[in-house]
Amino acid sequence: MTERLDGPQAPSAEIADGPSSGPAETPRTNRRLGPSPAVAIAFLLPAALLLGIWVVYPIVYSIFRSLFDAAGTGFVGLGNYATIFSDSGTLTTIRNNLIWVIVAPIVVTTLGLIFAVLTERIKWATAFKLIVFMPMAVSLMAAGVIFRLVYEQSPDKGLANAVLTTVHDTFSSSQGYPEARPREGDQSPVAAEGGTVVTKQPVQTGQPVLIPIVGVKPNVLPGNAQPAKAPAAAGGLSGTVWFDFTPGGGGKNGQVDASEKGLPGMTVEAVQNGKVAGTATTAEDGSFRFEGLPAGSYVVRLPQSNFQASYGGLSWLGPTLITPAIIGAFVWVWAGFAMVLIAAGLAAIPRDALEAARIDGATEWQVFRKITVPLLSPVLLVVFVTMIINTLKVFDLVFIIAPGSVQPQANVIALEMWRVSFGGGNNQGLGSALSVFLLILVLPFMIMNIRRFRRGDS
C-alpha cells in the first residue's frame, strides 16, 4: 500500500475496483466484442460457475427459504416479512441501521477528505498516512475488542473515560464523601434533602448538634480521621459530624460510640430564614463550631459539595450512547481507507487549475470549495457509497462492543439476521427474510456503484 501512497498518479480506478462487483461486468462487454461466442462462453464458464454457486444460488435459495416457517416445512408466504415490520425489536434494528447509514459514511468521508487535504501540506505525509491507515490492517473483530476496552466504564480501565475524567478533574477536582448519606428512618435527626443533608428540627444555640452519616466508603475516609467525641453543651452553635457505624456492628444508631470516627473536612452551614448565617469546617474528630453566631434557632446543613461524587465519565456502553460509540470505532477503522482513496484522487487533480485560481486571488477556502471538492466529487462519491454498503452490513463491531444487556438497543439488521437464524430462535425462515431485506437495501447502492464504474470505463 505504501508504494501506492507514494505514487504521484495513483490510479484510483484500480483501488476502487476492489469493493465493486466488477466481474459480472467484464464478461458481458467481452461477449459483445469477443471474437466468437463459443470462445466467449468457454472463458466465461469458470467465473459464471463460481458466481452461480456462491452468489446466485444462495440468493435464490434465501428468497425461497424466506417464504417458509422456522422448520422449513410450512409455507407462510410473506408472513416473515410482515414479522420484520411488526416486531418492535426488529424495528429498532432498522432505526439503528438508518442512524448508521446517515452518520457513519458522512463522518468517514469528511474525515478522510480532511486528512487527505491536510497531508498534502505536511512534510511527514507518508508516515502520517501510514498511521491513519494502520487500523485497516486490524480485523474488525480485534477492533471491536480494542474498543470494548476503550469504552469501559471505570476510568482505570477505559481510555475514553480516563481522558474525560482527566480533563474534567483539571477544571474541578472532587473531594469529600461521595455516596455518604444520613440513615433512613424516623430516628435519624438529619435527613437528605435534594443532595444536601439538613437537621430535621431547627437547633438552638448552646445545644450540641449531632449529624450521623452512614455509607462512607472506606477509601474516602481520610487517614487522619480521629474517633468522634460526643459534643458537650457549650455556648454558641457546635456539634459533631461522624460516621455512625461501629465496625463489626453493635453500636447504637444516632449516638457517638467509642470506635466511631469523625468525618474531617466537612463544610457545615448554619441557615436561618433561608440564608446562610455562618460556615464552619469539621475538625479531625468531626467536631465543628460556628464562631460569632448570634443566639437563636438555626437549621444546620451539610451542602452538596461534601457529597460530590468524583466525575466518572460517560457510560459509553449504556443504552443511549452505544450506537454513537460503535460508530466511533467504525470511523477509526475506515477513516484511513477513505483518506487513501481521496488522497489518490487529490493527486490526480490538475495542478494548473489550482494555481490559476490562486493567481486570480482566491483564498485557500475558496480553492478548496470551488475547485478541489468538485474535481474530487467522483472519488468522494465512490468512498461515500462504499461506506454506505459497509455500514448496512455492519455486524462484528456491534456484536463485540455492545454488552449483552444493551445488545437490543445496539442491534442492527445483519446481527439480528444471524441471531434469529442461529442464535436461540433457530428460525432460518425469518433470518432469510431479513437477509433478503438487507439485500434490497444494499442493491440500489450497488447498482449506483456499478453504473459509475461503467461510465468511468467508457
Binding site: P218, G250, S405
Partner: protein
C-alpha cells in the same frame, strides 16, 4: 415452534416424573457399587480423534480438560475441546446445518436435547452407556437427557443455583449474620450499605443470572406448583404471583446504594466480572449465584470456605428454594469414540476425577461426596443427591431458548429492562408475557 413446546412439556414431565420417582429409586440398591465399568479395554481408541464442544471457559474449561486428559490416558483417543461461547445454540446450529457437528456436545439446557433430537442431530446412546447411566443415576436425571422415549444425553454436571455468596470480611465489618429470610436479607443489605460497602454485585450483563434470581424468588413465593405452570407457560407472566416475586426483587434492586455501581454499572457487568468485584476488588459484599462461583472466587484469590462463603438462598415465601441447573452431554456422531467418552463421563471413575477439582458437583450418586476438595462442596453434593420433591430445574433452561437463553431477547431482555427501571413492575410483566407468547406460539 411445535417442537419447542413439545420440548418444554416433555422436560416438564421429566421433572414431574422425577419428583415422584425420586425417593424410591434412591433407596433401591443397585447391583453392587461396581460403577467404574471395565470400559472398552485398554487403549483401544489409539489414534481416534474426538471433538467435544461445551460452553465452559476459563477455569471451568481447564478443569474439564483435565478430565479429558484422563480419558486420553485411559483409551488413547485424542480429544480436542471447542468452546461454544455463551450461546451454544448459535455455535451448534450452523455446524449441524453444515453436517459437521462435534462428536460430543455438552448442552447447557435439557430443552435443547428435544430440539436437536427433532432435527435428528443426536445419536441415541449405546446400550453400554445406558447401562452406565442406570448404575449411576436416578431416573430423574435420566429423564432430563431423554426425548421421545430414547436416551440421548447424560447429565454430567449439576449446578446448585440457590446460593448467596458473601465475603466474610464485609459481613464481619457490618456485624451481620447470613440471612434465612428475605426480610433479613434486605435488612442486612441496608446495614452493609450503611457500613460503606455495596451489598450486591449483580452480573446483569449476563441475563441468565437475573433469571436465576427470579426463579429462586418465584419458587419460594409462589410454590412449586405455580413454578411448574409458569415453566410451561400455563399461567401468564402477568399473573399476580409474578407480581409478588418482582416486588421482592424490587426491594433489592430498587435502591441505588444496594447495587455496586448502580443499575447501569450492574448492567455492564457480566459474569464472572461481578464475582471478582466481590472477592478481587472487595467492592461489594454479596453475589447471588450458584455453586460455580467457587471457581471464580478462588481465581480472585479468596479461599473458599474462609473468605468466600455462602448461605442457602433465603426463604422469600414459605419454602427455601432449591433450583438446579445442569449440563447434558450428547453424541452428535455415532462413533465408538464418542460413546466411550460419554460412558467415561457417566462413570464413577470419570466423575471422581472431576469431583476432585473445584467448582464441580456430580449428579452421579456413586461419586462419593468425599471426593470434593472442600467441606462446603461436600455438603452441597449431599443436598443434590438426596434432594427431595421441592427441587426444581432452572425454569429458563426449560423454556424455548428464544425466551430463556438468548442474549438481548426474551426473559433476559425483559429482566434487564426491569433492572434499568425497577419501579415499573407492570411494564416488566407485560413485556415478559409478550416475549413468552412469541416464543411459545411458534
Amino acid at each position: 415452534m411445535r417442537k419447542a413446546r413439545a420440548a418444554v412439556i416433555l422436560a416438564g414431565l421429566a421433572v414431574a416424573v422425577a419428583a415422584c420417582g425420586n425417593a424410591p429409586t434412591t433407596t433401591t440398591p443397585t447391583e453392587s457399587g461396581s460403577a467404574s465399568a471395565p470400559a472398552a479395554g485398554a487403549k483401544t481408541l489409539q489414534g481416534v480423534k474426538l471433538e467435544v464442544a461445551a460452553k465452559w471457559t476459563g477455569a471451568e474449561q481447564k478443569n474439564f480438560e483435565q478430565v479429558l486428559k484422563a480419558f486420553t490416558e485411559k483409551t488413547g483417543a485424542e480429544v480436542t475441546y471447542a468452546s461454544t461461547g455463551e450461546d451454544t445454540g448459535a455455535y451448534l446450529g450452523p455446524r449441524i446445518q453444515g453436517k459437521n457437528p462435534p462428536d460430543v456436545a455438552i448442552l447447557p439446557q435439557p430443552g435443547l436435547v428435544q430440539q436437536y433430537a427433532d432435527q435428528s442431530a443426536l445419536k441415541p446412546l449405546s446400550d453400554d452407556v445406558i447401562k452406565e447411566i442406570d448404575t449411576n443415576y436416578t431416573p430423574y436425571w435420566k429423564e432430563l437427557g431423554s426425548a421421545d422415549g430414547k436416551v440421548y444425553g447424560v447429565l454430567i454436571k449439576a449446578a446448585h443455583k440457590s446460593l448467596v455468596w458473601y465475603r466474610g470480611q464485609a459481613y464481619d465489618d457490618a456485624g451481620v449474620q447470613p440471612a434465612t429470610t428475605w426480610d433479613e436479607l434486605v435488612k442486612n443489605a441496608q446495614t452493609i450499605a450503611d457500613s460503606g460497602t455495596a451489598p450486591f454485585s449483580l452480573c446483569a450483563a449476563s441475563g441468565w443470572t437475573l433469571t436465576d434470581l427470579f426463579e429462586n424468588v418465584y419458587l419460594s413465593t409462589a410454590g412449586a406448583e405455580n413454578y411448574d405452570k409458569l415453566s410451561k407457560h400455563e399461567i401468564p407472566w402477568t399473573d399476580p404471583t409474578v407480581t409478588t416475586a418482582l416486588q421482592k426483587i424490587q426491594q433489592l434492586v430498587g435502591k441505588k446504594e444496594f447495587l455496586l455501581d448502580g443499575s447501569s454499572g450492574a448492567l455492564q457487568t457480566d459474569y464472572p466480572t461481578c464475582v471478582s468485584k466481590v472477592y478481587g476488588n472487595k467492592k461489594a459484599a454479596m453475589v447471588v449465584e450458584g455453586d460455580f462461583v467457587a471457581v471464580e472466587a478462588a481465581q480472585s484469590g479468596a479461599k473458599v470456605g474462609e473468605e468466600a462463603k455462602y448461605f442457602p438462598f433465603p426463604k422469600a415465601g414459605d419454602t427455601a428454594p432449591v433450583v438446579l441447573g445442569g449440563d447434558v452431554a450428547v453424541a452428535m456422531k455415532d462413533s465408538p469414540g464418542a460413546m466411550a467418552l460419554l460412558q467415561f463421563l457417566a462413570s464413577k471413575e470419570g466423575g471422581e476425577i472431576w469431583a476432585k477439582l473445584p467448582g464441580y458437583l456430580s449428579p452421579n450418586k456413586n461419586v462419593s461426596p468425599d471426593n470434593y476438595p472442600d467441606e462446603l462442596t461436600k455438603q452441597l453434593g449431599q443436598t443434590i443427591v438426596s434432594a427431595g420433591d421441592a427441587v426444581r430445574y432452572d425454569m429458563s433452561d426449560l423454556a424455548p431458548s428464544a425466551f430463556g437463553g438468548t442474549d438481548g431477547k426474551g426473559e433476559w431482555k425483559a429482566l434487564q429492562d426491569f433492572l434499568r427501571n425497577p419501579s415499573d413492575i407492570k411494564g416488566a410483566q407485560t413485556a415478559l408475557e409478550a416475549e413468552a407468547k412469541k416464543a411459545w406460539k411458534k
